[in-house]
């Protein structure tokens, strides 16, 4: 149960973060289409062109530095990339350490079981970790300066099918309902179960609870569909225009462009 509360707290924190900080960000008013295209370009650059680990590291810290300079809450940003940029790539990189054969640099024998780390495995793990870390810090940089509605706007401008953007909008809204309902249910549940249930009964109880949550979500989904139809839904959500700042857009392009150029030049000078 406490895991659900924690997940909800994290989600609420993220939302508060998005609300407070994207609008404060210096790059809030940059054209979101350009921001999205540059982000995608940088991800491609990091994953398909750059192969040197120090360039990945330098790029990652470059974006952390921008966030720091732009008065975006750095501790929140770091927390954000801690989950997405450290824990997630570590989960992928750690198994790679032990699963790649080659020149052994460390080993441990437990009975008949032999655990080892090869030089190739170590390199592969570090490469994966840094590559994902760099990618995540770029995504985090994009997210902290772009509210969700701007992202949808950019997707629509880039001719992404309306169905996909509509699904994204509804999924985003649905998170709120889901967590709201879940937390209300859990609180209601906590007020009535004052003693800890036996292990087996807890499973039975939890399955009932989540079954109810599912039914509640289906019911709410049906209501929302009715509300959409009542207001003439024809398969598309409104695409509202908003003001962008050309000067800041130029600064954004300049900064990211310089970073990419230096990264590419360094990469090819090494090659």
């Amino acid at each position: 149960m406490s895991l659900v509360y924690q997940a909800n707290k994290k989600f609420q924190n993220y939302l508060a973060f998005e609300l407070e900080h994207t609008q404060k960000s210096y790059f809030f008013s940059v054209n979101p289409v350009i921001k999205l295209l540059i982000t995608v370009g940088l991800i491609i650059l990091i994953n398909y062109i750059i192969t040197e680990f120090y360039i990945w590291l330098a790029l990652s810290f470059f974006f952390v530095l921008i966030v720091l300079l732009l008065n975006i809450n750095i501790s929140r940003f770091l927390k954000f990339i801690l989950y997405l940029g450290v824990i997630y790539p570590a989960l992928i990189a750690i198994p790679l350490l032990f699963m790649t054969s080659g020149v052994t640099i460390w080993q441990l024998t437990v009975g008949t079981l032999k655990i080892f780390i090869s030089q190739e495995g170590f390199q592969l793990a570090v490469n994966y970790f840094l590559r994902i870390f760099a990618t995540m810090s770029i995504i985090a940089f994009f997210i902290v300066s772009t509210p969700f509605t701007h992202i949808i706007y950019a997707l629509r401008q880039l001719r992404i099918p309306a169905l996909i953007s509509s699904l994204l909008i509804l999924t985003y809204r649905y998170f709120f309902f889901f967590f709201d309902n879940l937390v209300t249910l859990l609180r209601a549940d906590a007020t009535r179960y004052l003693h800890k249930l036996p292990f087996k009964a807890r499973f039975h109880h939890l399955s009932n609870l989540f079954g109810h949550l599912l039914l509640q979500s289906i019911h709410q989904g049906a209501s929302i569909h009715r509300a959409m139809l009542a207001r003439g839904y024809q398969g598309e959500f409104p695409l509202l225009e908003f003001s962008t700042n050309p000067k800041r857009t130029v600064i954004y392009v300049f900064l990211t462009g310089i970073a990419s150029l230096i990264a590419i030049l360094t990469q090819f000078s090494v090659v």
């Binding site: 509300a227 959409m228 009542a230 024809q234 509202l240």
Partner: protein, 282 residues
């Protein structure tokens, strides 16, 4: 005058065995303000859903502005009729207030400056200009209710359907909402309001329809309704507090009323006037 809404012998059931609406017939004239009363589960909300063809499958006929409610006409009818749901969370589905208000007019084909003007007008009419950029999730219940009304208002419908609009609101927000309803009434919009709280019916709703177990058991003036305790009891409703207090005082001190010929009050304000007159005499 041709009625703007007309129910002719309408019956409806969600599942084959349970009939939610049973042979309902009534008409509403343009610009009229009608309150639909009844206990929980009496079919009030289903009546609204049928009016917009959101739950197809009714028998009998429903007409809105001369158009029969059916699959062919449902889009035209939904343009003319705005429904404000009982639970605002069931109605608001877009990330920000601005987008939520834009949804209806966008579907009506408004774009660019026209769309912007329409959003601003709706926001000004409901007085929510200060929350336009906010996330819907972060709004209070009262704000959500106002956004839901603005979202419907932006489509400029002739008919507004309010499903328990005063539920879970604080007194200040209720007052704001009554003011909004009053403005709509003055603009000549037809208003239908669902309620089971007799004390919360705004004064300008002169006509009431009472439903009980899917059947219409009363259709007439609100004042007439309060003279029929049997109907109120049958529908699990009660007299408004003002009327209850009035009859209690009349019962206890009949001599005070000898000189006067009061109509039983139905609002707090009416009760206050009567009380002041009696106290003045005493």
């Amino acid at each position: 005058m041709d009625p703007i809404i007309s129910f002719r012998d309408v019956s409806f059931s969600y599942h084959s065995n349970i009939q939610v609406l049973k042979s309902i017939s009534f008409s509403v004239n343009p610009g009229e303000a009608v309150v639909i009363l009844g206990e929980n589960g009496s079919g009030k909300s289903t009546l609204f859903l049928n009016l917009l063809h959101l739950v197809p499958g009714h028998s009998g006929a429903i007409f809105v502005k001369g158009l029969e409610v059916n699959h062919k006409n449902e889009k035209k009818i939904r343009q003319k009729t705005g429904l404000i749901f009982q639970n605002s969370n069931d109605q608001l589905f877009l990330p920000t207030v601005k987008e939520e208000i834009a949804f209806g007019p966008w579907n009506l084909g408004l774009r660019g400056k026209e769309l912007k003007n329409c959003i601003n007008q709706a926001a000004a009419a409901i007085n929510i200009q200060n929350i336009m950029e906010k996330k819907v999730f972060h709004l209070s219940q009262g704000e959500k209710r106002k956004v839901a009304i603005a979202a419907v208002y932006a489509m400029n419908p002739d008919i507004f359907l309010f499903d328990e609009p005063f539920a879970n609101l604080d007194p200040k927000t209720k007052e704001d909402l009554i003011r909004i309803l009053d403005n709509l009434h003055h603009q000549g919009k037809t208003l239908l309001l669902i309620s089971h709280e007799v004390d919360q019916i705004p004064e300008f709703f002169k006509r009431g329809i009472v439903l009980h177990s899917g059947k219409k058991i009363f259709d007439g003036s609100i004042r007439e309704l309060y003279k029929s305790p049997k109907i109120l009891t049958q529908a699990n409703l009660r007299l408004p507090l003002a009327a209850t207090l009035y009859s209690r005082i009349q019962e206890l001190y009949p001599h005070l009323f000898k000189k006067f010929d009061f109509k039983p009050p139905i609002t707090g304000q009416e009760f206050e006037t009567i009380l002041l007159e009696i106290l003045g005499e005493v």
